[in-house]
Amino acid sequence: MADYKWPAAENRSLIGKRISRLDGPLKSSGRAKYSFDVNRPGMLYGKMILSPYAHAKVTKIDTTAAEKMPGVKAVTLIWEVGKEVQWAGQEIAAVAAETEDQARDAARAIKVEYEVLPHLVTDATPQQAGADHSKQLSEQKTGDPDPAFAQAAATIEGTYGSPVITHCCLESHGQVTEWQGDQLTVWASTQAVSNLAGEYAPAMEIPAGNVHIITPVMGGGFGSKFNSDVWGFACARLSKKSGRAVKMLLERDHELMVAGARPSIYAKVKVAAKADGTLVAWKSESWGTAGPGSAGNPTLPYVFRPENRSSRHTAISTNIGPARAWRAPNHPQMALITMSALEDLAAAVPMDPLDFFLKNIELTGTLAKVYKEELLKAAELMDWKKKWHPRGQMVAGPIQRGLGLSLHTWGGGGHQSNCNCTIHPDGSVEVSLGSQDLGTGARTVIGIVAAETLGLPLEAVKVNIGDNHYPASGASGGSTTVGGVSSSTRRAANNALNELLAKVAPSLGGDAEQLEAVGGVIRVKGDTSKFLPWKQACAKLASTPITAAGQTSKDLISSGVGGVQMAEVSVDMETGVVRVEKMVAAQDCGLVINLKTAESQVYGAFIMGITYALHEEKIMDQQTGRCLNADMEFYKLAGLGDIGELVVHMMTGPGYDDRGVIGLGEPPVISPGAVISNAVANAIGVRVPTLPITPSKVLAALESKGAKA
């Protein structure tokens, strides 16, 4: 009988290979249907009116003119009179009309009056923000940093940080809704197919079982699409009122203003080492804004745990807009702050940072061995020892090159996932899960696991996901999807196979325990002459298919990965322009199911990282309280010409595979900001303290260095 464990390396025919994603042909030919592409008969378009003020009390909402506008079929309020808005872009009301242009006109015709209140939208320090806007979240202390500083051979102090950035999913947030009686269907762009019914049901006062969520593909989420959001409920109400399907996806400016922001984190750091580079003490005071609320606490220092350390964090409440989880919440900021300070310290010792990080590797704890192997691998791929030069050592001419490195970690594990595997008498196979594929390749991972388990080619398995009528699976966040769905699918497919083997056993000698499914046949283990082709074996089911269930199982998965990245940049000292020449990643994620899409995750993370390192910032104007770059001309994304050479090395084989499956969405996006910042410091001999590293900041840093010299 088949067992649940992952097959041994020599018995894997699909797992760990480079396999093209199952939905690639649909996506590449433009035939994949996103929520945004759903056109229902008689469908209307929804548009919203937004608050232009960052902080204000709504005193009047008048929709009478809007209701009479051409094409308008329904109007609904989202906000109420008397309630305070906390950011510009807050949704006030929505309309549904026959065309998008008519809906936009009508939304504009809604009259809203406000009592404007004072706002804070700048990324302020606790001192600048004042007590009303500051809340100290935590203080952590281990050992005693102060005496340790007194005895250290090298100490540096610095301020580092990164601003608020946005998710900028290319498919904006939103959905199409349609009612039939008291049944609601929502084509939602979501990371949480199985969870949304539970949100719509109370809001619409219907049982959750009446809500059908459909998301076969979705155009990016990155942590910002876990909920129905106010626009989801407004859309459903517009549908109900008009009796028509309604499509309402956010306009780009709206998307950038409110539909996702990564909190800023800044820190003043003091860190010290002995003359041999041993890290002895860390002290940091950090702050940052997540909009009106407070986001999670950073844990500083990141990855390394020196004996003496203390840290304190203050949350600044602002009217910048609401934060949402952004790929690896807090980690990219913690990595930037920690790895920048540590490389500055290495430069002060002075020491090659590679040697410095290796010297302190035991301070990383249980992942020390993984980090060490990765550092050595990445150094080899970067040719670090040959290329590295001490900080500030310049060559003739305006173009200077530099190297930087960083370490990161992430949990993973598996969310709660249920899978049904059905084997039909005609030999066809389906696996069904109420999960979703955000573009990570989850669909293909599911297919590979089922096919491998049943000894079939990938094409023989139909993967059903993106629909809450399939067995419930968790939301896709925190790199928990691949752990959840791979283990539930493995178990479901195994359970189904065992039932099949029991049916087939009489024709193959009677002992199901002795049978296995390999290469498209059911055969007796160790006797290749006794077998039944898959189709004939399934025919023994007569007319009733087998359906077996499987759930997330902890023995197939794990959590806690380590990764190392390095960057090589060139900086034009005259213009301040930074170019990424090369980046290297050595990344662990346990057992890799699909090497091709795993590598794509890391390539994608590099590129997202280059973007936030060099370009991204939600620029707010304190005068008006508004976002100045809520568009894609000035909310800049890196392009194909900006990426340099990217090298990805997945750590696999003994010591990695045997840990089981671990997710990969978050880890590789953590270090790019830190490695690029470190490489720039190495190139130009001075730290650009905050991201994004724009030409003007490079020139300012050079100027301050010149002033000091």
């Binding site: 390539y603 894609m632 001309e633």
Partner: protein, 230 residues
């Protein structure tokens, strides 16, 4: 400086595939500094803030001598993938909205809606244009090709096949735009160098970060198309 910054309109030298009449604004070049040439020349020295403050991003007027149509709905005919489609719509309708909303041709995506990201790329008379920034009425009388016209249902064009093989899509939302940009690019550069590919796609953005795959896919597709498999 990033190549795409100087090439936001897709008209720059880096992206020769894009047609110059993509945008009504470009139909009649004005004297002096146009918004586009200003942005193009401004480069990294001009911050977003400055440009917004100075009003450089306010919509400029369309060509003054255009025939008056509307504002009510009018009949239009669009030739898409070799087939004539009649619609009745307000003249302010963009080609992209006409395709997606009126004709259910949804391969081209709307992302920035203002000629920055390339997600809406279609071909007009064989050249890549941004469908979000061309009025449907102005697209009449031209040959339009969308990604739906590139390959028959169930079959893949060599560019599409190369995108699959090199995993040049993650969420896939930007992918149709890249594929159409690639079609136009490879028609103009059947034997592109790696350098040309790197420079030639500045008019398209991907948030998931698929550029490594796109670069390889375009180079590979060039070979496949030369090999007569187109």
């Amino acid at each position: 400086m990033s190549d795409h910054r100087s090439n936001g309109s897709g008209n720059g030298p880096g992206n020769p595939g894009k047609a110059d009449n993509a945008n009504p604004e470009n139909a009649k070049p004005e004297k002096g500094v146009s918004r586009r040439s200003f942005i193009k020349g401004a480069g990294v020295a001009v911050s977003a803030v400055t440009m917004l403050r100075e009003g450089l991003l306010s919509p400029t007027a369309a060509a003054a001598d255009a025939k008056v149509a509307g504002p009510g709905a009018i009949a239009m005919t669009l030739k898409i993938n070799g087939q004539a489609h009649k619609i009745t719509a307000e003249p302010r309708l963009t080609l992209l909205d006409a395709l997606r909303n009126n004709l259910d041709i949804t391969g081209a995506k709307k992302v920035c809606d203002r000629a920055t990201c390339g997600a809406c790329t279609v071909l007009m008379d064989g050249k890549a244009i941004y469908a979000c920034t061309l009025l449907a009425i102005d697209a009449q009388g031209h040959d339009l090709q969308t990604i739906e016209g590139l390959s028959a249902e169930g079959a893949l064009h060599p560019i599409e096949a190369a995108f699959v093989d090199h995993d040049a899509q993650q969420c896939g939302f930007c992918t149709p735009g890249f594929v159409m940009a690639a079609k136009s690019f490879l028609d103009a550069h059947p034997q592109p160098t790696r350098e040309q590919v790197t420079k030639g796609f500045g008019g398209n953005f991907c948030r998931c970060g698929t550029y490594v795959g796109v670069r390889e896919a375009v180079l590979d597709a060039a070979g496949r198309m030369r090999g007569g498999r187109a």
